[in-house]
């Protein structure tokens, strides 16, 4: 059949050569419950982390090479961010790349390993039992291996290679490297204990691990920790946020990527900058400022492209989920400025410098990555619940739109309390004021609580679907009257 498109509307009618959708697009996403369980676990970890910061403000007012700081940081980055990001990737990578997830069963096993791994690691970091950190870290690492394998197999099904696919691939490589470096650090700290097993394969593996860990002893412990942190936060989180932005921002604003070359350049620069920055941070080399500059250039190119996408958007009003996300991207500006200052050669290592490093980490993990994720969760969680509850009712009953599933008022309040809390906590961290950190933490906690209430409102649709009968079409109504 020949089409004259679209018959309902529009100003522009283009020549129609209808091409049927390929069968592979039929059900690209994972089942609803899989990503939801990652997200709910992540949300619990976020609440625990924010409560921890509020109850024990010294984790921000003291220098970060401390067991409590390292424990709470891993609660944020593994328990909250990585858990949600992995759940979202199982959902979004197939959608963004128009393919199917390789194996949902592997993802379910990975979830179990991930939760055991991160919970045990946080607990053992707090106890400063590095041997057990290594054990739980190995469980987590095995889960990460399954995750990487699953996503790589999914990427191999991608019908056409895009900037987003490039960013996802790079992010997988960086998270692998981050985990390996983390395990080597734990191995190095446990010392060279003798094996309690006589199994030759285990002994051989341990010997190799120790040999690799020993190479790290040439570098400073703090430099290694900073390199590890940058590999994870920039290589995995930032790489993914930058990559998926090129798909999600145009999708939600009715726009298009304005320059594919610019988008690709930002990903290339981000990879080059991170490779150089991680190496120079590890060696405590003054050249880290140069690679820091490359990272800033990558983010500037990214910002330039996002600005162009937004200027070309057809949907003028930006919803609050998207505002969360774009505000998070804007947080890259103060974070980058701090990064450049801290990378400056010859910067004196004073107590104030240490506090500035804490602000840098806090802004990066909470201000940028966490806010971006909360913004995207306002899109992803309603979609998952809607899909699980209402998709079979379309055309049979009136179903709510995604934006009708939560309270916009709570969302706005949550946004502003988050930003207020972020500002207060950042300033308080710089001044090492425990009372102010507690006040800022309480504001962020309020924001997270409001977000959790909204998530509860969304989840309520699972248990109490809000269906209404369909109204008769106008044409039928006219005929009846």
């Amino acid at each position: 059949m020949e089409a004259s498109l679209p018959i309902s509307a529009g100003a522009e009618r283009t020549v129609a050569r209808p091409a049927a959708a390929p069968a592979s697009l039929a059900t690209p996403a994972a089942s609803v419950s899989l990503p939801l369980r990652f997200m709910m676990t992540g949300l619990l970890a976020l609440m625990a982390g924010v409560i921890w910061l509020t109850v024990q403000p010294t984790v921000l007012s003291l220098y970060h090479y401390h067991q409590n700081v390292i424990a709470v940081t891993h609660l944020f980055v593994l328990g909250w961010i990585t858990t949600v990001v992995m759940g979202a990737m199982y959902q979004l990578v197939p959608v963004a790349l128009e393919t199917k997830l390789y194996s949902e069963r592997l993802a379910k096993w990975q979830f179990v390993l991930h939760v055991i791994g991160f919970a045990g690691m946080v607990w053992m970091f707090r106890e400063w039992n590095m041997k057990q950190v290594g054990h739980f870290g190995s469980v987590l690492a095995f889960g990460v291996l399954l995750f990487i394998y699953n996503i790589v197999r999914t990427l191999l099904r991608v019908p056409r290679w895009t900037v987003v696919a490039g960013a996802v691939s790079a992010a997988l490589a960086w998270i692998g490297l981050t985990v390996v470096l983390g395990l080597l650090m734990a191995t190095l700290k446990t010392g060279l204990e003798t094996e309690t097993t006589s199994h030759s394969a285990v002994v051989a593996f341990m010997q190799r691990l120790r040999a690799a860990a020993n190479t790290l002893s040439h570098f400073g412990a703090i430099s290694t920790m900073h390199a590890h942190a940058h590999l994870g936060v920039v290589g995995f989180f930032t790489m993914l946020i930058v990559g998926v932005s090129y798909k999600l921002v145009p999708m939600f604003t009715l726009s298009e990527v304005q320059s594919r070359r610019r988008a690709a350049l930002s990903i290339v620069l981000l990879n080059l900058g991170l490779a150089g920055a991680a190496g120079t941070i590890l060696k405590n080399s003054p050249w880290r400022i140069a690679f820091g500059g490359v990272l800033v250039a990558a983010l500037a190119v990214f910002g330039w492209e996002i600005r162009a996408i937004l200027r070309a958007r057809k949907r003028r009003a930006l919803d609050w989920g998207l505002r969360h996300f774009l505000t998070a991207l804007a947080m890259l500006i103060p974070t980058s400025v701090l990064g450049v200052i801290l990378a400056w050669p010859g910067l004196p290592l004073t107590q104030r410098t240490g506090q500035l490093e804490n602000v840098y980490g806090y802004l990066g993990i909470v201000g940028f990555v966490s806010l971006a994720i909360i913004g995207m969760l306002y899109k992803i969680i309603p979609f998952l619940v809607w899909f699980g509850t209402y998709s079979r009712h379309i055309g049979r009953a009136r179903v709510p739109a995604l934006a009708d599933m939560y309270s916009p008022r709570l969302q706005v309040w949550s946004y502003w309390t988050f930003l207020s809390g972020l500002l207060v906590t950042s300033l308080a961290t710089f001044w090492a004021s425990n009372a102010m950190i507690r006040a800022g933490g309480a504001l962020v906690l309020c924001s997270v609580f409001l977000f959790a209430v909204n998530v509860g409102l969304i989840l309520r649709h699972y248990f109490r679907p809000q269906l209404a009968p369909l109204a008769a079409p106008k044409t039928v109504q006219k005929a009846v009257t």
Binding site: P18, A317, F383
Partner: protein, 105 residues
Amino acid sequence: MNTPPLTEELVLDTLRQVIDPEIGFNIVDLGLVYDVRIDNGFVKVLMTLTTPGCPMHDSICEGARHVLLGLEQVNDVDVQLVWDPPWNPSMMTERARQALGVTNF
């Protein structure tokens, strides 16, 4: 009760009951319905979605099929999804553009 004849207008009015949940507007005014053919109680709909790979693909197409099967005059429905030409916001009706604040053409 008078049963109205099965016309394109009736089919489109009926399809207006199917919404795209992300955008929150019906598929007809969004310009997602490219063509409707009626042949003796058999309705063939050619439509698209706003984004290729949209996971709501099955739900929306099945919803469109089901809502039309609810019409007395319809015996069977075939909903065909196409990606070419790709959808763009200029395909929306004036009503949808105003409701969604879509500009910049």
